[in-house]
Symmetry: C2
């Protein structure tokens, strides 16, 4: 259906929001359809470039006329990779976007998550585990931070948001295709898998006794972060090897999830590299 024979010529009329392939792609803005098909929408030049370059499987690329003019290099890369490129109208692009400012360039990709046993294995040095994280923008921002810090993997555990959600893809700015990503529904199983892979588990918690600047980062680590509003569940805090608190030097009571994760993961990454 999306084979090369269907590749439209540049002068072809753009697909509208009623063209069957656009209608099918639009359904991927719903989680149920994503789970059913194993496909999702990667919107924006960063995400499309990462999907094409970094081993993501891309089924099809939709572009508006304006985006095609801006991102000629990406269209060439897509065609070179045998990915069908279809022009779409601005209105069709709006329908494929889960963000307030549609980018006009959207790829239909295969899910990026992998089986946990291929992701959590001995040799991993830095892993980020999100437990019950609800906001897709937060999840995407943390995936970007994990990538920047050189993390081997990101685990979405418990009731966490689908990483293929459009707002998550956008916030990850291409990084969704970089660290290995796995989803583990059972949080206890996720922690046990980290331990089995030789990772110490550190749970970030505002009332922990140990402060971040007291921690020695000389072993592989899995950082565990909880829900935006409620933090780490009590049973998870009981299960991690060490609960760690970011010191509060001023009068703020806490930090938001993404900034807290950035501080913990980068402090770890910089210190463990310095120690080598």
């Amino acid at each position: 259906m999306t084979g090369d024979s269907a590749l439209p010529q540049p002068e072809a009329a753009p697909f509208t929001e009623r063209t069957p392939r656009v209608v099918a792609a639009r359904k991927l803005t719903r989680r149920a359809e994503r789970e059913k098909t194993g496909r999702f929408l990667a919107e924006g030049a960063n995400a499309v470039e990462a999907a094409l370059e970094d081993g993501g499987k891309v089924y099809e690329l939709f572009v508006t006329e304006r985006a095609a003019a801006q991102h000629g290099r990406l269209l060439v890369a897509a065609r070179d990779a045998g990915v069908p490129v279809s022009p779409i109208t601005d209105r069709a692009a709006d329908g494929l976007s889960e963000t307030v400012t549609p980018q006009g360039i959207v790829a239909v990709c295969a899910h990026v998550d992998r089986p946990q046993e291929t992701v959590l294995k001995p040799g991993a040095k830095l892993v980020v585990v999100l437990v019950d994280v609800a906001d897709p923008g937060n999840a995407g921002t943390v995936i970007r931070v994990a990538d920047a810090a050189g993390a081997d993997a990101v685990v979405l555990a418990g009731d966490s948001v689908d990483p293929h959600n459009g707002k998550c893809v956008r916030a990850a700015a291409g990084s969704l295709f970089h660290p290995a990503i796995t989803r583990i529904r059972d949080v206890d199983a996720a922690l046990k898998a980290c331990s089995a892979a030789g990772l110490r588990t550190f749970g970030a918690h505002g009332y922990a006794d140990t402060e971040l600047d007291q921690v020695t980062f000389d072993e592989p680590t899995a950082w565990v972060f909880g829900n935006e509003a409620h933090g780490l569940r009590h049973d998870v805090l009981e299960s991690v090897d060490l609960a760690v608190k970011i010191p509060m030097y001023g009068r703020a009571e806490s930090l938001n999830l993404a900034t807290a994760a950035a501080i913990c993961v980068y402090t770890n990454a910089m210190a463990s590299r310095a120690a080598r």
Copy 2:
């Protein structure tokens, strides 16, 4: 107009979106009205609590019935401080909110920013300067990070967003009332004021030669961050004492403003305390 004689009794009918005092408050969602009156809306329990406790000047507090039931302690604190408390309808609360999920508790406050000479002065150890930062959520998140890291001040320089914007207030989660805040339109003057106060200026930049983990934090520092999309302006980069790059250990090209600021400011805060 908002004196104690006007204090409505709890059993009074709630103000609606057409009540003149609510109409007047609603105008404060516009920057021009905020600049004209020197007032702004602090929405949410965190912000209201910080305004009441931390020396903010509060003219009036509006609460819905539901929020009043949740935040009884805050209402007592307001009345003890001589702040008129007025019940409002849910619809009136919607009109006073700049966020998608109105909190039902909104204070009319005096602007928090102060003259630069009272904020940037010898003795300051850690200052954050935002240059041309456009997104109020980012500005608020960075103010919260600066507070948590014990920063003395936050400078909104150049074309930066108004810190009294509702989305900034919300993202700051009360911290807007903690570090000293000043606005300096002229970026060069802002940097010179930092230097005159004995602060070294560090500009965060993705292509700097010096990486964050190579920096020694043994002197008072002002961290300078640029616009979300464009980073620090060339002339600003030329003017800072040192340009600093967050090391990228993975394949991400960059971090977003708030996470980058969190990493730089906290790395500095933890290192300079360890060195004492």
